[in-house]
Amino acid sequence: MGKIEELQVINGEGYQLSKLEKVLGVARSKSVWPLPFATSCCGIEYMATVGSNYDLSRFGMEIMSFTPRNADLLIVAGTISKKLGPVLKQVYEQMSEPKWVLAVGACACSGGIFDTYSVLQGIDKIIPVDVYVPGCPPRPEQIIDGVMKIHELVKNEPLRRRYSDEYKHLLKTYNIDVNE
């Protein structure tokens, strides 16, 4: 939770989220549409998460938007190689604010066992990641766990966070243009 609190302090809004903001945050968190960027093994486990046994739709997340334009959450599941890195970055840039990133699995988080010349050692080298889910591949339970952490973030996020200097600075470190 460290991240959120820090941001709020920086914004000067303190802990006083206005009531409206709170309601909007809750509403947002109930309707997080994911964009599954599933490349390999973790993608199969993501499918299992969507499947009947775990049913991600309980969180209102079964509407998968395969186009980045209307997605709220980028779920990166699987190995991202250096060749794929620019593609991932482009997808991230195409998403409209507010957007969150969930890195699922060891490969996406850190490269996992693939400490090799062709694999990106964690997607946080190219895009900012909000929640990491460990495991290779993570169980559906773990993915749901990560998703719920995202919900927690969404719920508590001030509406203006995306315009804060902090956030702009964060994107700048990743060389991502901030569109006003």
Binding site: G2, S52, N53, S110, G122, Y132, P138, R139, E141, G146
Partner: protein, 180 residues
């Protein structure tokens, strides 16, 4: 081409019957199937509220075991680190000092023992490699986190708490010969 195995059977050349040509009978048949599912009990496991019992041999978060007297089993031989395909284990060995006999079982112990949970692929090779029955994977899942640093688990999280011991006897017993 002639048959290579003499036990092949063509499975896909059944022509459509008249009823199948009419679209609707088979469609109604399919709709009947889905309709039956309407009244089937759902199979969903509502994860955060309901938790599944994993198999006793499930490979989840690691634990560093202590023995009956509460001494750490690990002797810092480094086999687990060598056996790790992801190179996720880091340890620094230390000599046991006088007076520490009730803390560490062997003369050597691990001063630092860190597992990078983001790298770990939960393959279980460390557990197999350990000659001292010190490290075990357990049926707990590793939670997701907001920050990368939170995943480097040191001895404070890995070593079991004597007041809250983690039972792995089922895991050791499962699959032993004689059980049917």
């Amino acid at each position: 081409m002639q048959s290579l195995s003499n036990r092949s059977k063509v499975v896909s050349n059944k022509p459509m019957t008249f009823l199948e040509r009419m679209y609707l009978p088979v469609i109604f048949g399919g709709m009947w199937i889905t309709f039956k599912h309407l009244f089937k009990k759902n199979v969903t496991l509502q994860y955060p509220e309901e938790q599944k019992v994993f198999a006793p041999v499930y490979r989840g978060q690691h634990v560093l075991k202590r023995d009956e007297q509460g001494r750490e089993n690990c002797t810092a031989c480094g086999l687990c680190a060598v056996a790790c395909p992801a190179e996720a284990i880091t340890m620094i060995a230390g000599e046991r000092k006088k007076g520490d006999e009730d803390k560490y079982r062997e003369e050597k112990y691990a001063e630092v023992y860190e597992i990078n949970m983001l790298r770990c692929i939960f393959c279980g090779l460390c557990e197999e490699a350990c000659p001292k029955e010190a490290i075990f994977l357990t049926d707990r899942i590793v939670p997701s986190q907001y920050e990368r640093e939170d995943f480097i688990m040191g001895k404070d999280t890995l070593v079991e708490d004597m007041n809250n011991r983690i039972d792995i006897s089922l895991r050791q017993m499962t699959g032993k010969r004689g059980e049917k």
